[in-house]
């Protein structure tokens, strides 16, 4: 006999409500008890229950049609894992209770294995039922499923669950009244804090802003300002969705909210003003725009969009005016394939008040634009059938009839008019890089109050320096160093000796670190690090961070991308490359470094290390280390 059972919860509540009358619920007319030890001893459409009795099959379409102890297999309910006197549970982490192998309950005295937490008496890797159930339901943690339950009031960060889930589980949907409780949820797993990262010093602590790529947040970590720089807290600056359910401990990351929400912070810049206020400019990937956040010294956070536009703030820089007003430079990359083609734009946003409270408190000023024209597709596109696109002369491709009269041609060649000719191909479909002036940028206010900006063009492959004079931006191109036709990426500005403006950036063509300084209106480049080492050349100019010692020397952090190490160079002056120190670390270190001074001889460098786990998971580590430097 086959019985069609209603939804498990219906049956359960039927039993719970009418348990005294529920004689036939879920049970067919009992045939003479037929004892069994395996299904083969039972008649067709019967199976051997954990109690060793042939029991009628129950049809189902999903697990929800079955008892808690069962799952829907091939259209009939089957015991999840049956056990009894004759069949003990094999997994020592489980025990046989009510005919099923159930996980041994955990509590403080019997902690879970590494990586697991004890939630609702069960060792789990993450909060069961996703950390919350809809109203009118509670969590059956062992099967990780919300089922109907009387309402129970639990605090945020707690999960309503069946405390007697096991008793409810035995096959046949035993009529046991449910008991509910509230379990403290574990904290959310911390997100992966990735570049970009900015280190700042505020009062007696260090602040590190980074992009949480797990949840798409701009996050602020607070650290003690002496080694080993313990992390004190983690605060979401932007990216936390409003009204999202709390599914983890409220005192943990993101207040227990797991829903990612808007993606913000993939580009960010920050500065701390004299009053301790933190100003942050950040990219909003979800809304495609620029946002600003201000965290007052008292902890009050304001955060709002400044402007929107395609790709706006893909790269940002932020500085403070002499009066503490935040100034932001934001880059929108060119899109030559858009219709109409879009030029790259570099725009400054100057705050009128501090802190600026709304988007109306900002004035926009265009620093520069750059149009990017891609080379035409060879032959204008695919050739007609039977023809191939071949180069007739450099830059001139034509569709020509394909022939077979040649011997096999070399790779990259095709036979046409009896000759092997080089095929003209459209560029392959690769991930695009940011195009235009501003792909790397920096912004600075000199001691004389002048606002200056630097922007590298990934199209022109050079570096432009801008000085704001009145309401205008005066532009000068800083010539690349000898032997290079591509320099200026990862640019950082510094105020050098006698108020001179210096710029440090990468020579991308030759993998060198370059220092530019202005002399008589002309920018002169010199190589600070050629990258030449005893084991060959290292590319050493990526991700530059620059700090200036009060004595005038520079401290430069940059990345060796051959070894993926953080490099520190102390005491750099024009004509003096300084002393090099390599901070070798496991993983790909040296991303997005930044430097702050915490004492007369004490500096801190923060950098991010990427680690590729054997599983393929990508994680990052923010690492702070002390650096002793007296300015020599």
């Amino acid at each position: 006999m086959i019985q069609m059972r209603g939804g498990y919860t219906q049956i359960l509540w039927m039993c719970l409500g009418f348990w005294g009358l529920c004689l036939g619920c879920g049970e067919p007319d009992p045939p003479p008890p037929l004892h069994c030890s395996s299904a083969s001893q039972c008649p067709s459409r019967y199976h051997c229950s954990p109690k060793g009795v042939c029991t009628a099959d129950v049809l189902c379409q999903s697990d929800g049609d079955c008892c808690l102890a069962e799952r829907c297999e091939a259209g009939v309910c089957r015991t999840r894992q049956a056990c009894g006197d004759a069949a003990q549970c094999l997994d020592p982490a489980t025990e046989c209770r009510f005919g099923i192998c159930a996980p041994r309950p955990c509590e403080a005295s019997s902690p879970c294995a590494a990586g697991l937490g004890c939630v609702a008496g069960v060792c789990v890797a993450k909060a069961p039922c996703g950390g919350s159930c809809p109203a009118g339901q509670a969590c059956a943690p062992r099967i990780d499923r919300c089922v109907a339950a009387p309402s129970v009031a639990c605090m945020p960060g707690q999960l309503a669950y069946f405390t007697n889930e096991i008793e409810l589980m035995p096959e046949g949907c035993a009529a046991v009244p449910p008991e509910l409780g509230c379990a403290a949820l574990p904290p959310l797993a911390a997100g992966d804090r990735a570049p970009p990262g900015v280190l700042l010093s505020k009062g007696g602590e260090l602040l590190h802003l980074a992009y949480d790529r797990t949840y798409g947040d701009a996050v602020l970590a607070r650290y003690g300002n002496s080694p080993p720089f313990p992390q004190k807290s983690l605060q979401i600056i932007s990216g936390l969705p409003e009204g999202a359910p709390v599914v983890a401990a409220v005192d943990g990351p993101r207040g227990g909210v797991a829903v990612p929400g808007p993606d913000r912070g993939s580009a960010l810049a920050a500065a701390v003003d004299a009053g301790g206020g933190l100003h942050v400019a950040l990219r909003d990937d979800s809304a495609d725009g620029l946002r600003y956040a201000h965290l007052g010294s008292g902890g009050n956070l304001i955060e709002y969009p400044i402007a929107q536009g395609p790709g706006l703030a893909t790269r940002v820089a932020l500085t403070l005016s002499a009066t503490g007003l935040p100034i932001i430079a934001a880059f929108s990359p060119a899109d030559p394939s858009a219709s109409p083609p879009r030029a790259a734009r570099l725009t400054a946003y100057l705050a009128k008040t501090s802190p600026p409270l709304t988007s109306n408190d900002w004035t926009a000023s265009e620093i520069d634009t750059e149009s990017v024209i891609l080379p035409p597709v060879p032959c204008g596109g695919p050739c007609p059938s039977g023809q191939v696109c071949i180069w007739h002369s450099p830059g001139a491709a034509k569709c020509s009839p394909q022939s077979t009269a040649c011997a096999p041609c070399l790779p990259g060649q095709v036979c046409s008019a009896g000759q092997c000719r080089t095929t003209a191909l459209a560029p392959p479909p690769l991930d695009a890089e940011l195009l235009g002036r501003g792909a790397s940028l920096d912004l600075r206010v000199l001691q004389n109050g002048q606002l200056v900006a630097a922007a590298y063009s990934s199209h022109s492959r050079d570096l432009a320096i801008y000085r704001r004079v009145g309401a205008l931006w005066q532009k000068t191109i800083a010539a690349p160093p000898q032997g290079s036709q591509d320099a200026g990426r990862f640019v950082r500005l510094a105020e050098g000796l006698q108020g001179q403006l210096w710029a440090v950036a990468e020579d991308s063509q030759r993998g060198r670190l370059v220092l530019w300084r202005e002399e008589g209106g002309v920018w002169k480049a010199e190589i600070i690090d050629s990258g030449d080492r005893s084991d060959g050349h290292h590319r050493v100019g990526a991700d530059v961070a620059v700090a200036r010692h009060p004595f005038g020397n520079l401290l430069i952090a940059h990345q060796d991308t051959r070894r993926a190490d953080l490099l520190l160079r102390k005491g750099v002056l024009p004509g003096k490359p300084g002393a090099l120190q390599t901070a070798a670390m496991p993983g790909a270190a040296g991303f997005s470094p930044s430097l702050v001074q915490i004492g007369s001889k004490a500096w801190v460098v923060a950098a991010i290390t990427a680690v590729l786990e054997p599983s393929g998971a990508l994680t990052h580590r923010v690492e702070l280390r002390e650096l002793i430097w007296a300015g020599e």
Binding site: P411, L425, P428, P429, L434, G536, R563, A610, L618
Partner: protein, 623 residues
């Protein structure tokens, strides 16, 4: 036609570039830059078989006949005044009535060159090429003998026409019958210049006979010493006394005259054959060779993958001591040679550039010359063909060439996704997304910080190859002869191969490997081309170095697969290089002789590489 591939024929090309009109080389000649210690003794040899020499000798004979104005019957007509200058031939003494200042002028002789023969002088060192004639007949077409005389107590002069005296009046009328020989001696002077000397052996005059005839029109006969007989002083021409007196004197004079004529003819021959090529030119020379450019001409897309070398390959050669010898009936030229290139910083570690190792590498003696080689045509047919010229290259010189190529930075390659895509004709698109299959997480890494919308799957990769040009790693090359191809295996030790991904706007090294790889290729002469087919790349050993981003990746398993992909996709088709042997030969010998590649083979033991050429007279060609 890739004329500069003639430089593959190192000995020929070296001598070819000794001349100022060296069209096969770049730029003017400069002081060799390849250091002396790199010179490998007798690294290259040039051998010409008797058959090959016979082809050339036949041309030399024909040329000599042309130079001497010989007609179809082999009769050369020698205008002595034109050959030796207008000044008359002075006899050493007077004869008969000619008391002194006797001589001959306006001599036009005939020389029967039918018996002219050219041979190599076996065992000669320096090499001698002997041009001889046996019992050749000399006739006189015109000529005047003259001298001072005293007549009737008056001092005067007189002159007579010179006529054949032997079998005069018959077709065999002649002045004399002589035998003689001259040697062209292939020497090299202290300055390293080829100096071909003409050494004439004293002719043997077997017989001589002439008559004299009076001609009152001759200047000496119009003195009018005796007014009543204006031509009286030349009456002596008619007397047999003068002719008989003159016979011994003329015989004495004819020997040196012939010697002078032969010397002159020999020098003309050398000048004509070797004009503007090698004679008198320094043989310690160097040819710059832009290998990247050569590959670009054979396979433009593949050249794009190569590195930018620090400078051209420099092929230097200079005559070995006893450069030219005749041995085993073959003319041999032996050159000390070196291959060198300026150092590229990517390939040469400072202070680790010892170069004397190549000259010290062991090497067996050169192999005997094969009389014939198996030649393959482009249509696949094959046949045995005689070898006339063989160029032998010592394997240690090939080793030095490989070292130089590595040293130049040609293999310092950084091949990115786009270059691979282009060179494979769009068949190969290796991105982070593809690598992610073998190295999970790479796509994520590339996606982090990428432009809006980029997933990382399309992030480009780059493979950077850095060779280590350490002489102490030599030998790199092994040669072996197979049925139809010459197998060349190049061992590349300590090759640094880095796999890089475009991450956050920079090339980030994912892993750096130190690889010992064996590249095996087949070489074959196919008609006028040399075919190079890379067969396989074996990864002999692989070591992960540095601090890679993904140290757990199983690169040892992945690398051979990558190598196999490279071979099957990029090197599937052979590279074919046209070799203009003819042009190279033309720069050495100005003779209407055609030259063709016959075959290439490694000598047993693999110490020598031998390139065979065949010579044949050019149809319709004449010296």
């Amino acid at each position: 036609m890739l004329k500069r591939w003639g430089a593959l024929l190192l000995p020929l090309a070296l001598v070819a570039c000794g001349g100022q009109s060296c069209s096969g080389c770049d730029g003017p000649l400069t002081k060799p830059q390849a250091p002396d210690q790199l010179l490998i003794k007798q690294a290259t040899q040039f051998r010409m078989t008797q058959h090959g020499f016979d082809v050339i000798a036949a041309n030399l004979v024909a040329l000599l006949k042309v130079l001497l104005g010989a007609g179809p019957g082999g009769q050369a007509q020698i205008d002595v005044a034109k050959l030796l200058g207008p000044q008359p031939l002075k006899f050493s003494s007077g004869f008969g009535l000619f008391k002194g200042s006797a001589g001959a002028r306006n001599l036009v002789l005939t020389l029967d060159l039918a018996s002219l023969k050219i041979d190599l002088v076996e065992g000669s060192n320096p090499a001698r090429i002997r041009i001889g004639f046996e019992k050749a007949q000399i006739g006189v077409v015109q000529g005047v003998v003259f001298g001072a005389t005293s007549f009737a107590g008056l001092e005067s002069d007189a002159a007579c026409h010179l006529k054949n005296g032997l079998q005069s009046g018959s077709p065999q009328a002649r002045l004399a019958t002589v035998s003689g020989a001259m040697d062209l001696v292939l020497g090299v002077d202290a300055g390293g210049k080829l100096q071909v000397q003409v050494q004439v052996q004293k002719p043997v005059i077997h017989e001589i006979g002439f008559t004299l005839a009076k001609d009152c029109g001759l200047t000496e006969c119009t003195d009018k010493v005796l007014l009543e007989s204006a031509c009286l002083e030349c009456e002596l021409c008619a007397t047999g006394k003068l002719a008989s007196d003159a016979a011994s004197v003329l015989k004495d004079a004819l020997g040196p005259l012939l010697t002078q004529v032969m010397e002159l003819a020999g020098n003309l021959l050398v000048q004509q054959v070797l004009a503007s090529t090698i004679n008198g030119k320094p043989l310690d020379i160097e040819i710059p060779l832009d290998v990247r450019d050569l590959v670009a001409q054979a396979a433009p897309p593949l050249a794009e993958l190569l590195g930018e070398p620090a400078g051209p390959l420099r092929l230097r050669g200079r005559p070995a001591p006893q450069a030219f010898v005749v041995q085993d009936q073959a003319l041999q030229a032996r050159l000390d040679a070196a291959v060198f290139a300026p150092a590229h910083p990517c390939a040469v570690e400072p202070g680790l550039d010892a170069t004397a190792v190549f000259a010290l590498l062991p090497s067996g003696p050169p192999p005997p010359l094969p009389a014939q080689m198996l030649a393959f045509a482009q249509d696949g047919s094959q046949m045995q063909r005689p070898v006339d010229i063989a160029l032998l290259l010592r394997r240690t010189a090939v080793d030095e060439a490989v070292w130089s190529l590595l040293r130049s930075g040609l293999l310092c390659m950084a091949v990115d996704t786009q270059a691979l895509y282009q060179v494979s004709g769009g068949k190969l698109l290796v991105t982070a997304g593809v690598l992610d299959l073998a190295l999970p997480g790479v796509r994520q890494l590339a996606a982090s910080g990428a432009a809006l919308g980029a997933t990382g799957a399309g992030a480009p990769l780059r493979i950077a190859v850095t060779p280590r040009a350490r002489p102490q790693d030599a030998p790199w090359v092994s040669l072996a002869q197979e049925a139809s191809e010459t197998a060349v295996t190049v061992r590349l030790g300590g090759l640094q191969v880095a796999v890089e991904a475009r991450v956050r706007e920079r090339w980030l090294t994912l892993v750096e490997l130190a690889i010992d790889a064996h590249v095996e290729a087949g070489l074959q002469v196919l008609g006028p081309q040399i075919k190079l087919q890379v067969r396989k790349i074996d990864i002999a050993s692989l070591q992960v170095v540095g601090d890679p981003v993904a140290p757990h990746a199983d690169w040892a398993a992945l690398a051979p697969t990558v190598a196999q992909v490279a071979v099957s996709l990029l090197l599937a088709q052979p590279l074919k290089f046209d070799v203009d042997v003819q042009a190279a030969l033309q720069q050495v010998l100005n003779l209407p002789i055609g030259a063709e590649l016959v075959g290439l083979q490694a000598a047993p033991g693999g110490d020598w590489l031998l390139l065979g050429l065949a010579l044949q007279p050019l149809a319709g060609g004449s010296p």
